[in-house]
């Protein structure tokens, strides 16, 4: 089975690193990391991406612009949005959350992360739908 390529965009580089360790340890994923939206988009343009996990709050280009740009570059790749709001994230930026394929609420544990990724990838293979952790 070929590994799925995941792009992680978060300015907290240690978080990217430790998430990468956990995801790659499963043997199912190959993880690319980026500290800014621009950097992430650059990576997405250069290599095929199966799934993107991006923070909502980024320096420079904001989460929504990154999301829009990713959808333009890799329309097939689902995008998971990280948020700090646990209860009703859709209340904060409804439009943005509708565009995302799923929400991950920080702090994210390993089980929650892998479960959400698996669900979103399965759905993206089958057709469409949202995943909310």
């Amino acid at each position: 089975m070929t590994k799925k390529r995941i792009l992680l965009i978060d300015d907290e580089q240690d978080l990217c690193l430790v998430m990468k360790l956990n995801l790659e340890r499963t043997g199912a994923y190959e993880v690319l990391t980026a500290a800014t939206g621009e950097e992430g988009l650059d990576l997405a343009r250069r290599a095929p991406i199966d799934l993107v996990i991006t923070d909502f709050k980024l320096p420079g280009m904001d989460g929504e612009s990154v999301l829009d740009a990713l959808k333009a570059i890799r329309p097939q790749a689902p995008v998971l949005l990280c948020s700090i709001y646990h209860d009703d994230a859709t209340r904060v930026t409804p439009a943005l959350h509708r565009k995302a394929d799923g929400i991950l609420v920080k702090p994210i544990n390993r089980e929650q992360l892998t479960r959400t990724i698996e669900a979103v990838l399965a759905r993206s293979r089958d057709g469409s739908g949202d995943a909310h952790a």
Partner: protein
């Protein structure tokens, strides 16, 4: 009138001389009695006038022929508390009926004047068979008036003392209301401050928590299950992370601004409700309120409670800018967004749809105004011109945040020494509120 001594028998020279002496004495007595300033009258046993002095005639304002032999109770009809006395209660009649002395204060009408009289009626015995009653009258109208005036003044003083006490109580109540409103506002400002702080903390803390959590997850798999102590420690770290995360979440929940519950409302009505809530404070601060509210304004989609808070904040700022009183003018009108003042126009163009109408509300005061160099900062969180401890500097920041949540625009215009005008423009609700 004269005091006659009837002598119907023959008299000797000696008797004639005694009679002359007696006549002379009587004449002197009459002169003396007439010299008394107070009216005096005496009456026979039937109550008819037998003698009176000049002051008595002046009192009753009658001719001599009308006085002599007339019934005194008719010449001097007395009243008490505005009610005429019955003949039984009349002091003269009381004396005639056998009471040796009758005394009291009574009213007597002299033309259209009310005269207060002190009346003394004394029964006297002239001989074994002849009884009479002497009535002396003293006009105490002036004294009574003075007493009445004194009483009125005392009553007025008592009434004003009562009014002052009532006013003090009202002030006390209003002060408590003011304190409670202030506490509410301070609380709201604190909440907003906590909200901003919590949001900042959440962003800053949640990432390190994520790193720890993911790190622990990684180590859990790397350490062999047999190493129980290490697994226990990792479990403890994980639980501590979750506990810290719960604290941050609780803080966020506690402080996050309530979501808008917007409904179509008449802005004039909301403004008037806000005004009612601060009305007493305005009155006590000697601030006149002038309402120039446009009639039949279209409704706006607003959260009534939050918009009320906006107007309370703005009006209370006006109040604090007028320590010696002044005027607050409230205006509302329907405006074309393109005709808004320059300071609002740019923002309005960004927020409002092309051709959309807005309801504009202006709160103008005649207060101290804001210096030009500070005007640009008044909406910044934690900016305040109030003394330390009296404002957190979040009032206008919250106000702006509420207005902007409504897709509205707020602007402030001020001239030092002349006053300040705060303008709030809110988009008119679409005819179908579902589309808003």
């Amino acid at each position: 009138m004269c005091l006659g001594v009837g002598m119907g028998v023959e008299t000797t020279a000696s008797q004639t001389s005694q009679v002359d002496e007696l006549r002379a004495k009587l004449g002197k007595l009459e002169v003396a009695l007439s010299a008394i300033v107070d009216p005096i009258v005496w009456i026979d046993m039937d109550g008819r006038v037998q003698w009176y002095n000049a002051p008595f005639r002046r009192l009753v304002e009658r001719q001599d022929s009308e006085v002599m032999g007339a019934k005194l109770v008719e010449l001097l009809p007395l009243a008490e508390d505005g009610k005429p006395l019955t003949s039984e209660a009349h002091p003269i009649q009381v004396a005639l009926n056998g009471q040796p002395n009758a005394f009291g204060s009574y009213e007597f009408r002299k033309g259209d004047q009310r005269v207060i009289l002190e009346v003394f009626a004394v029964r006297v015995r002239f001989s074994k068979h002849e009884m009479s009653t002497v009535v002396a009258v003293h006009d105490i109208t002036e004294r009574k008036r003075a007493e009445e005036k004194e009483r009125q003044l005392a009553n007025a003083a008592a009434a004003s003392a009562v009014a002052a006490r009532k006013r003090a109580e009202e002030l006390g109540v209003a002060y408590k209301e003011l304190q409670s409103t202030q506490q509410m506002l301070v609380q709201a400002e604190k909440m907003a401050a906590v909200g901003q702080l919590a949001s900042g903390i959440a962003h800053e803390v949640k990432n390190p928590l994520g790193i720890i959590l993911q790190g622990v997850n990684y180590l859990e798999q790397e350490i062999r299950p047999a190493q129980n102590d290490q697994q226990d420690v990792l479990q403890m770290i994980k639980e501590a992370v979750l506990r810290s995360d719960k604290i941050v979440r609780d803080l966020l929940n506690f402080s996050r601004q309530a979501p808008l519950e917007a409904k179509p409302r008449d802005l004039n009505a909301v403004l008037r409700t806000a005004l009612e809530l601060v009305g007493k404070q305005l009155t006590l601060s000697n601030i006149k309120v002038t309402e120039r509210l446009a009639a039949a304004l279209p409704v706006v989609l607003i959260d009534e409670n939050q918009m009320k808070q906006v107007f309370i904040n703005v009006i209370l700022n006006s109040l604090q800018a007028m320590p010696r009183g002044g005027e607050v003018i409230l205006r509302t009108r329907l405006v074309d967004v393109r005709r808004l003042a320059d300071e609002m126009a740019a923002r309005a163009r960004q927020l409002f749809r092309p051709g959309e109408a807005a309801v504009l509300c202006e709160v103008e005061d005649t207060g101290t105004g804001i210096p030009k160099d500070k005007l640009g900062k008044v909406f910044d969180p934690f900016f305040t011109t109030k003394p330390a401890g009296q404002g957190t500097g979040l009032g206008l920041a919250i106000t702006r945040s509420i207005v902007e949540k409504h897709r509205g625009v707020i602007a402030i215009d001020s001239e030092e020494g002349r006053g300040t005008t705060v303008r709030v423009a809110l988009p008119v609700a679409p005819s179908d509120p579902e589309r808003a």
